[in-house]
Amino acid sequence: MIGRAARGQPRSVAWVRRHTFEIVLILPLVAYITVLTIAPIIDTFRLSFSAPNAGFGTFDSYQAIFKDTVFRHAVVNTIIVALLSLVLEVGVGLAIALTLHVKFVGRGFVRTVMLVPLGVPTIVSGAVMLLIFARAGYMNSILGLFAGLIDRIPGIDFKWTNVSWTAAGGWRTLFTIAIADMWKVLPIMTLIFLAGLQSIPEDVYEAADVDGATKWQRFTRVTLPLLIPFFTMALILRAIDAFRIFELALVLGTEPVLGTYISGRYRPPANDPFTSAAASIILFGIIMLFIIMYLKFVARFQVQR
């Protein structure tokens, strides 16, 4: 230190000289994220507190969207779709992971099949669900087939009338969106829970067996508690995307969610980046709120045990 000071070099310059190699390697990433991620986020915050004729420092855009019934409807729909798809994804993902954790003939094949949707683009999974759930779609074909079989039983008169799942709006559309989302992300959820199941050591189960635990007790008292970190990972990873749902809602029916609302405000004919920015800040707030609430819930749950 004395040496450097004697040479008349400030400490910061010396630090830069010593770490030139590292700085050169890391600089492109830092510059990119600063210019094309952090700056746009700040810019969007600024936009959301601006209005075309009021300049910066106004809540006009927020007031405008909160008065908008479509926006309020979109907020409710977003929360319903996100929670519904999270429950479906965690439930079915865990069930499939438990299945693949058991040894059975053809397990390798089933495992490969389960990974397949990973390679299907989201927009395609929306398009397929449109084929399945439209009024003249394949869901009604299958249900009609079963109804026909039941109808053949003598004495029972049963006919299936076609139902439109997507265009009808309301809970049917939201449910279709959640199913489409579930199908697409099942591989990721299965992989996460499979990693969790493989991390549980065998001797914990042996101890439970010695104590005379039934299978159900093994599952609820051993497996589930030890999977909590993996639930946390799966839920946080998925929640972020579930609240941001966009393509599927755009393709499947006309129920507004925040993603489509933001996009609709930005594009013509509205052409309004201000309310669009305000709505995307609200969406960010909802995501943060969910994650904080979940982490508090898990913390309390773990203390209680």
């Binding site: 810019d43 990974l115 683009p121 084929l131 039934t214 299978k215």
Partner: protein, 283 residues
């Protein structure tokens, strides 16, 4: 007969129901996953009559190649295909070039700083893409980057850099620092060590990360829609066909978008071990 029984062979009330339902559950979930895919390919080969009516046929017997031929001849599929391929490949290349060296440096920092940076990278993903995309699209419009390969590549890097850096930090952390020291004692420069020792060892992790970036860009819809007015990518082409096309045209475009990825995922699935995604979290 007189051997002591250490393990209980007591009957469990769940044994019978589990054993009976297990095969049905396995077959059912396989069908659930495969049915939508079967539909895409089946409908793309189906003649017009098969998809009409109140209850479309579940099995088609008379196949036709009409829709595939049409898709490549007249439906204008080649430009979107080229755009998607070029954008995905260049994005992947640039993402590796920018993120790999940085991830290496981050992996060699003190743990406290390292985890702060990794969590910071994840937090950027919590922002809705629109919160970044709207500002980016407004600026790119002024710079003339709409309907431009470069504009879309820059946008796709926004989505992929934090993710790929996060995966690669996890990969580099597992490479012992002794190896680098040994190479430097042998007279290698720091850059030489990085290129000839560290990166080759990390090749597997870099490959998996590249795969994810390529898939992300190939599938990406939101930025593509914000930054495009008429030079479509494949996902945008699918969306346009949903709006205007027939059922078979839609199925064919969807099949063309899906087929390459199915092959990629099938051949690389052995790398997609459960640990591949969770390793980086645990460090």
């Amino acid at each position: 007969m007189s051997t002591p029984r250490f393990r209980r062979t007591r009957r469990d009330p769940l044994d019978v129901p589990l054993r009976v339902t297990f095969p049905f559950w396995v077959i059912g979930s396989v069908l659930l996953v495969l049915f939508p895919l079967y539909l895409i390919f089946m409908v793309s080969f189906a003649p017009g009559s098969a998809v009409f009516g109140e209850r479309p046929q579940l099995v088609v017997t008379n196949f036709t190649l009409q829709w595939w031929q049409e898709a490549f001849k007249s439906a204008g599929l080649i430009p979107p295909l080229v755009k998607s391929l070029v954008v995905a490949s260049v994005t992947t290349l640039l993402a590796i070039l920018i993120a790999a060296p940085a991830a290496y440096v981050i992996s060699r920092l003190r743990p406290a700083i390292r985890y702060t940076i990794v969590i910071g990278l994840l937090v950027t993903r919590m922002f809705p893409e629109f919160a970044i995309g709207i500002s980016v699209a407004t600026r790119f419009a002024k710079l003339g980057l709409l309907d431009d390969y470069l504009g879309l590549i820059l946008a796709h890097l926004i989505g992929s850099l934090p993710f790929i850096a996060w995966i690669l930090v996890g990969t580099f952390e597992t490479i012992p620092i002794d190896l680098e020291e040994a190479a430097q004692i042998d007279g290698a420069s720091r850059l030489g060590t990085l290129i000839r020792v560290v990166f080759p060892i990390a090749a597997g992790g870099i490959a998996v990360a590249s795969l994810f970036v390529w898939l992300y860009s190939w599938n990406e819809f939101l930025y593509a829609r914000l930054l495009t007015t008429n030079q479509l990518t494949l996902p945008l082409k699918v969306f346009q066909t949903i709006d205007r096309g027939t059922t078979q045209q839609l199925a064919t475009v969807a099949a063309i978008l899906t087929l390459p990825i199915l092959l990629v995922v099938y051949f690389l699935q052995r790398y997609l071990r459960p640990g591949a995604l969770t390793g980086a979290v645990k460090g």
